[in-house]
Symmetry: none
DNA sequence: CCGTATTTCATACTTTCGTATGAAGCGTTT
DNA sequence: AAACGCTTCATACGAAAGTATGAAATACGG
């Protein structure tokens, strides 16, 4: 109904304009453009009005999976843990041996040992298991 | 751009139709209607595309606080882990050395070693760090 | 360009861990 | 009682882990 009325009004308007103010050369194009613009707006309006999806807030109780986990960078910097050291910490937490870590990141086993030793100092640990546990408690690793 | 092209095509089409098939009485109305319908669709499309609200999912991290954690007794029985072994596993996960565990539960270090060895078999681990990690993944320890 | 931090690696040594094997004491179950 | 499982412990050896020290290359900021 609204559509019909709008259309009718438009036509009337166009007729009036056409007769009153003379016919411009590309009047069809101009009128077409006007109509197009107007109905585009109408389309947008109705499109939104009719199908607007409500904002749905779903609270999902998640423990770890889902939340990607973000290492505590503050703590990391606070303890002066370098990137390389942190990398090794992660592998350590996964249960890898020094040799396996060395092979994984392509350095010598001795290098891994130096890193781990420094990590133990910074994490205040005496053993790798303790280092992992402490790192976990500090929010450095999941 | 898309708009311009569409408009141009429409005009050309209308011209062709107009000259070829004669002029109907209310041609302006008809063409207008066509244009209106077409651009209404366009409007709906863009309206939806540009402003559709997404479903918002809020993930509420509920980890340990609230849930005291209950070790998976099924898994424990399934793997044939005895109480004593599990006790040692817990201490191991806390980062204690064999000697410390021995002193804690008042047994010899050798005893702890036998327990740990059996644990490694049952948990399919080669190292204590790996054992802890696997136990964690299986839900045996937090 | 110099100093500092990071990363790499080595050598040597100590400590801890992990495995293998055997054995003894103790409850339960059969 | 015999068998079985759990716990305890020992000895001995090999394999990792961890410590100490020194050194060199790279990167980065002043």
């Amino acid at each position: 109904m609204l559509y019909g009325i709008t259309g009718g009004l438009l036509i009337v308007l166009m007729r009036l304009v056409e007769y009153k103010y003379l016919v411009i050369e590309n009047s069809v194009a101009m009128y077409g453009g006007l109509v197009a613009a107007l109905f585009t707006c109408l389309g947008i309006y109705f499109g939104l009005k009719l199908t607007r999806t409500k904002e749905v807030i779903v609270e999902v109780p998640v423990n770890s999976p889902g939340v990607p986990f973000k290492p505590d960078e503050k703590k990391k910097a606070e303890l002066g843990i370098t990137n390389r050291e942190f990398e090794i910490l992660e592998h350590m937490a996964r249960g890898l041996s020094n040799r396996e870590i060395a092979n994984t990141i392509f350095v010598s086993e001795n290098t891994v040992k130096t890193h781990t030793s420094k990590l133990f100092e910074k994490l205040n640990a005496k053993r790798r298991t303790q280092a992992v546990q402490n790192a976990k408690n500090m929010g450095l690793i999941p």
